[in-house]
């Protein structure tokens, strides 16, 4: 029993128990989970299964690093903004590869986005050992961004950076767009029933789902840019401990609702920092967090009926490059 108490205490200390764990750990960790969670939710809403968040995030990180190391430091916040725009562009382009493969050639986005994750991982490994390595050529990482090109801190003395506000804004904005605009309507219609969207709503289904994937990738890219400008300040391997995959759990637990993603993102951040605390203080391997995340998906899917499903989309002939329409 003392063991269980010690593990629980380690979890508490690591996640919420102290103000530094909360502000410098959990809230910082929640930022990429929320933003990529919103990204995944948007793609899902449009009937596209983006499991490439990890790769898109890495490409965003690469782009933000390139910009951060090359623009004059005097730009300050404008330079940070530029880095984040570059990150969004890179993430969007990375996702666009999968979007084009799907729209033109009927390649299942599940496979293509996963493949692009592996390519992105190798790409980062190569960059930090080759063309982008820091000048002394000792460590597999880039130089650090100059001080003025980093996201400002929200609470001095902690690691909580302005990216947290970006995460909240992303989630609110995504909710507005999805539920209150014509583009959001087209997205939801495409996800719910592509034939109805196409026949009754005059929606260009193929175009809508392609854009859903690209926007999703751009958001994941921003999350990568925020990690660089707000947390790590340099590019290296293992920059992301699987945010792209955890985000799938975040989105599904939120039932694909962008505002709810705020809550589930925070919850999973608590899981992850708590698990790290357990590893540090109680010797419990931190990968248990990914077990929790996967179990959460299965439980939600198991109990939610067929509501969260992409297959209505896939099952309709002519609705896009589904496996069966690809036969023609």
């Amino acid at each position: 029993m003392t063991d269980v108490a010690a593990i629980a205490e380690a979890f508490w200390r690591g996640s919420l128990g102290t103000s530094s764990a909360l502000l410098s750990g959990t809230l910082v960790r929640a930022v990429p989970l929320i933003i990529v969670g919103v990204a995944v939710a948007i793609a899902f809403r449009g009937g596209v299964f983006n499991i490439g968040g990890e790769g898109q995030l890495l490409l965003g990180a690469v782009a933000a690093t390139v910009v951060g190391l090359h623009v004059p430091a005097g730009l300050g916040l404008a330079g940070v903004l530029l880095a984040l725009v570059a990150a969004a562009t890179a993430g969007g382009i990375w996702a666009a590869i999968a979007a084009v493969l799907r729209a033109r050639f009927g390649v299942l986005e599940v496979i293509s986005t996963i493949m692009l994750n592996f390519v992105a991982l190798s790409l980062v490994s190569w960059l930090v050992r080759g063309p982008m390595q820091e000048p002394t050529h000792v460590y597999p990482q880039t130089s650090a961004l100059p001080e003025p090109l980093r996201l400002p801190l929200l609470v001095p003395g902690t690691r909580l950076h302005a990216g947290f506000l970006i995460a909240i804004a992303t989630s609110a904005l995504a909710w507005l767009v999805v539920s209150r605009t014509a583009a959001g309507f087209r997205l939801r219609a495409t996800g719910e029933s592509p034939t109805a969207a196409s026949a009754a709503g005059g929606v260009n289904v193929a175009k809508t789902s392609a854009w859903a994937l690209v926007v999703s990738g751009a958001l994941a890219g921003v999350a990568g840019g925020i990690e660089i400008t707000g947390v790590t300040f340099a590019l290296y391997e293992n920059l992301s401990p699987g945010y792209g995959f955890a985000a799938i759990a975040v989105a599904i637990l939120a039932r694909l609702h962008p505002l709810t993603v705020l809550g589930t993102g925070l919850l999973f951040a608590v899981f992850e920092t708590g698990a790290l605390g357990m590893q540090r203080d109680a010797g419990v391997p931190s990968v248990v967090a990914s077990v929790l995340e996967a179990a959460a998906i299965l439980i939600v899917i198991g109990f939610s009926g067929a509501r969260i499903s992409l297959q209505r989309r896939r099952s309709l002939p002519g609705a896009g490059p589904s496996t069966e329409s690809a036969r023609q």
Partner: protein, 303 residues
């Protein structure tokens, strides 16, 4: 002049787990179920084989049995959630892959120092005379026993799919469950069995990775092979012979990393590692269409 014999030998050896997983997956997909959790089956099988091989008095057969069981354990969740309860196959499969990667990682780290176990994975079965043929001899006739079994699976699965009642029922379920039902076939039973077969093969593929290739376990050592196998099935047009051909091509792409290391080419290792994944994207774009089972990945099983 580059000696291609070692490369061919490595290509066939590397292709083996891919072929086993892909043959199993093609059966599952022919019944209409895509197993995105295949990656999870492979890593679970790899860990089970590793754990079993670490115990005294166990031979490779016990290792492969443990691997198959671990694959089935993962696949049974897919069978219950996606075949019986009709939940989204892709979401469930993705979660299963994450779950298996997490569970095996946790178990492996919990072993502590016992995780340093390494055993001999180099034993091969040499066919006399034939293995002496220049260039292709060793690639085709001096391989681990599991490679011969994997290749033997190709005609066996072909025969079952195209020449037996069971195979006809299975293909019918994948094309039109309602028609199959009218003909007296039970679609969910057939799909469940197909999924379990596919996941057992996935587990065995993981076992082969440990017992006939790496000689040890590493976290995430499946390295996307499950997803590559799913791509291989599409590239092989859901036919056993096509799957065999596509597996060998991808085995070759993965084996390139050994060749580049051995030859000391001035190509960055990290870039060579990308080749199989880039090749998958290009190949799927170019040839990945046609012949997919009509009901693949659908929730409404015609009932």
């Amino acid at each position: 002049m580059i000696d291609v014999a070692p490369f061919l030998e490595a290509a066939v050896r590397t292709a083996t787990p891919l072929l086993i997983a892909a043959i199993g997956e093609s059966v599952s997909e022919r019944a209409g179920v895509i197993n995105i959790g295949l990656e999870g089956c492979i890593i679970a099988g790899a860990y089970a084989a590793f754990a079993a091989a670490g115990m005294p008095e166990t031979g490779p057969v016990a290792g492969y049995c443990a691997a198959a069981l671990a694959g089935v354990a993962v696949g049974s969740v897919l069978a219950v959630l996606s075949v019986v309860l009709r939940r989204d196959q892709i979401i469930v499969g993705t979660a299963l892959t994450m779950l298996a990667l997490g569970v095996t990682g946790t178990l492996f780290r919990a072993r502590g120092s016992a995780s340093a176990l390494v055993f001999d994975a180099g034993s091969v079965v040499r066919v006399p005379v034939l293995s002496e043929i220049p260039v292709i001899g060793r690639a085709l006739f001096a391989q681990p026993a599991i490679t011969y079994l994997a290749v033997a699976c190709v005609p066996a699965v072909w025969w079952i799919l195209y020449r037996t009642q069971v195979g006809l029922a299975l293909r019918a379920v994948g094309e039109s469950p309602s028609a199959a039902r009218s003909a007296g076939v039970r679609p969910r039973l057939v799909q469940s069995l197909a999924v379990l077969f596919g996941s057992a093969m996935g587990g065995i593929a993981g076992g082969a990775l440990v017992l006939a290739q790496a000689g040890t376990f590493a976290e995430g050592m499946s390295a996307g092979r499950g997803f590559l196998a799913i791509a291989v099935v599409a590239l092989g047009r859901w036919r056993p012979a096509g799957v065999l051909l596509a597996s060998v091509v991808f085995g070759g792409a993965m084996a390139l990393q050994f060749v580049v290391q051995a030859l000391g080419w001035r190509v960055r290792y990290e870039l060579v590692l990308m080749i199989p994944y880039v090749l998958t994207l290009v190949a799927l774009g170019a040839f990945g269409r046609g012949n997919a089972p009509a009901y693949l990945a659908r929730v409404d099983a015609g009932d």
